[in-house]
């Protein structure tokens, strides 16, 4: 069954098409002048202007390792982040804290801690799963490199990016 769509009845002016063209031209030239006079907010000029200062607190940038207020590393090499990491970007080589050490009760520390930033998907699961609050997603978003090896962040680089974070950690407290 054919269905006929009712066409709108056009007046002579509308049929001429030119008034509509002029109206359209008016709209586009308005946009042009607004950009020219700076009334339109245009895109950020990236390398010169950056998001850095406007980033929200919850922004998920590159994952990093942090030290506490005494400069001690927080990571205890429990490897939970390594196991939960969906793209398997994290590789940890744990080491044992020897008998007789003051911090023997901490048991393990990371000998090597690598995050492959080519693999990382910035999901933040490592931060969520960490029982020691040792890994945090900081605000660095422009992680670039010229080689694949450069894109693998080792322990030193991760601490460099991470910096100090104060907060509730039990492991390194002798009384707890």
């Amino acid at each position: 069954m054919a269905y006929t769509v009712a066409r709108p009845k056009l007046s002579f002016g509308e049929k001429l098409y030119l008034p509509a063209v002029l109206a359209g031209l008016r709209i586009t030239i308005k946009h042009l002048f607004k950009v020219l006079t700076g009334k339109t907010k245009v895109t950020m000029q990236y390398p010169e202007e950056r998001w850095d200062t406007h980033l929200p607190e919850h922004y998920r940038g590159a994952p990093t390792l942090v030290t506490d207020e005494h400069g001690r590393e927080r990571c205890v090499a429990c490897q939970l982040c390594e196991f939960i990491c969906p793209p398997r970007a994290i590789t940890i080589k744990p080491g044992e804290i020897p008998e007789g050490d003051r911090w023997r009760k901490v048991e393990k520390f990371p000998q090597e801690f690598e995050i492959d930033m080519i693999r990382c998907i910035y999901c933040g699961l490592c931060e969520e799963v960490c029982p020691e609050q040792a890994i945090f997603l900081r605000k660095d978003y422009a992680i670039t490199g010229l080689t694949r090896a450069e894109m693998v962040h080792d322990k030193q680089r991760l601490y460099e990016l991470g910096g100090v974070m104060t907060g509730l950690v039990f492991k390194w407290n002798e009384k707890k």
Partner: protein, 380 residues
Amino acid sequence: MSDILFGLLMALIKAVGLVFVIILPMVSYTVYAERRVSAMIQDRLGPNRVGPFGLFQPVADAVKLLLKEDFTPKSVNTFYYWLAPACAMAPSLMALAVVPFGSSWFGQPMVVANVDIGVLWVFAVSSLGVYGIVLAGWSSNSKYPFLGGIRSSSQMISYELSLGLSVIPIFLICGTLNLPEIVKYQIENGWLISPIWLKGISFTGINFSLLASSIFSVNALVKLLLWVPLFISFIVFMVSMFAETNRLPFDLPESETELVGGYHTEYSSMKFALFFLGEYAAMITGSAVIVTLFFGAWHIPFLPTDPEKLPLFWGILLGLLHIAAFFIKVAILLFFFIWVRWTLPRFRYDQLMRLGWYFFFEIALANILLVALILAFAPR
């Protein structure tokens, strides 16, 4: 004999100067303008990285296009495939030969070829541009370019008709096909696009009796009466020019949303660039013809028109000013071309054909009759 050689040499210098000093840079900066204007219309900024305000972008583009791999698909008809880009580019430049782009400079009239067939030459040569597109579409041996080529040939043939017919009123009024003569008519009687023309005003003073007679006289009334069909002519010519140069809203030969890239789908590198440049050169040629026919070409109102009658320095300056005026007028029209492109959606193919054959053809014909009647019965 030496006169002929001198004339040839002058024509050569003018042609080379026009093409390489003015038109080709203008083409590349039209592309830049297109990108900037379209960006601003869409609330963006456009290319602003290369040089101040991105002004060196065309240079970067040219380098990029020259360095790209020039790939020839295996299935193409190589000879025509190579011929097509040249066929697309050359005619639009050739058509400029008869356009007077300035008054005179160092005693030389600023037109490459001052010939009596002027406008005929423009139409004849610019319609050759369709061969580039048809050859490209056909020799590519691929369905999208083929469809683009077919569309373009039928479109150009349909619009050529109204293009040619819409300017006949001008020849009826001016009585010549020679473009410099048409410009001379416009200097004496006012630009064809303007309904009234004020005479007697110059930078030395105002001649009131001449000014009054240019407003309140039978001649002024006839000019006002003739303005109506001339304005219709202008609209028809302008729209047909859009169709002829394959610009949106009539860019069906390349309509990238349905035909991939249209006739130049299979082209890459500098051959693609030649199509691209050809399109913009055709735009410039079209604008130059519109400026010559309707906007008084290089004429600046209220300034002296003959540099030869001035002292040497002022004559040279005025000659340059006239050339600048011509290309400023062309640039304004080019801006209009760009502005329209980023405003209107593309026509459907049947709408395009309908517009060409049912409306513009008839309007142009009726318009000729109207002008003929006015000229026959109006007092001279």
